[in-house]
């Protein structure tokens, strides 16, 4: 069992990164690793709402964030600097996570054994 941080840096539909980082997160948690997920940069756009009712031909994979609880992934964080830069507030998010400043993020990463950045 290891402490692993996944840093989500991609916007939801500009690459397969967000979706495949989620798959990876769940797979790592399933074999008892301790996961921490950090949304940074354009990755925080993944947490904004998605309309489920209109025509859209890509997978709205963000629904999968609801599985975090089931996989006992509770360490969910957002980079405060990235939020401010993009004029996004916590109330704008469809999926909640805790905002952290630079010092708290650095302390969080210092506790990890592995870091994956996608």
């Amino acid at each position: 069992m290891q402490h692993i941080a996944i840093i989500q840096r991609q916007s939801p539909y500009n690459s397969s990164g967000g979706r495949e980082a989620l798959d990876l997160t769940l797979a790592l948690a399933a074999v008892e690793h301790q996961l921490t997920v950090i949304f940074s940069g354009d990755g925080i756009y993944q947490l904004l709402p998605v309309n489920l009712n209109n025509d859209f031909s890509l997978k709205r994979y963000q629904q999968g964030f609801k599985l975090f609880g089931l996989y006992e992934i509770e360490q969910l964080y957002i980079c405060q600097h990235s939020m401010q830069q993009r004029q996004i507030q916590l109330k704008d998010l469809a999926f909640a996570a805790q905002q952290l400043d630079a010092i708290a993020l650095q302390q969080l990463l210092a506790k990890q054994q592995q870091i994956v950045c996608i």
Partner: protein
């Protein structure tokens, strides 16, 4: 009336580009425009093999685009040079292998829209 040529360069899974291109084509054809070609370059060539073997629950943009092109008689071409560099053999799908020269010649009387 304007005739369009479309150029795609990213793989169908990577981004929304295939979906957007299809959306544009639908609206263009509905408004009476002609489409001279849809040309897949760089990683977009992977659509030619992705058409065939995707899991059923996966959105298959390659296939949707192929069906649309068939119905509207639009040449759906992938670059053979880009495919070779990636080790992709002709997958025998409804995408047609073509050289960059064919893209260049078809461009002559059309307006390029890159996706």
């Amino acid at each position: 009336m304007t005739t369009f040529s479309l150029l795609l360069t990213t793989s169908p899974l990577a981004s929304q580009s295939f979906a957007s291109a299809l959306q544009f084509c639908n609206a263009a054809v509905a408004a009476g425009y002609q489409i001279e070609q849809i040309f897949l370059y760089q990683d977009a060539i992977f659509a030619a093999s992705a058409e065939i073997d995707l899991p059923a629950d996966e959105p298959n943009l390659s296939q949707l685009l192929a069906v649309f092109c068939q119905q509207n008689h639009i040449p759906l071409l992938y670059c053979v040079t880009a495919a070779e560099k990636r080790g992709m053999l002709d997958p025998g799908s409804s995408f047609i292998g073509a050289g960059l020269a064919e893209f260049a010649m078809r461009l002559t009387n059309s307006k390029l829209v890159q996706f």
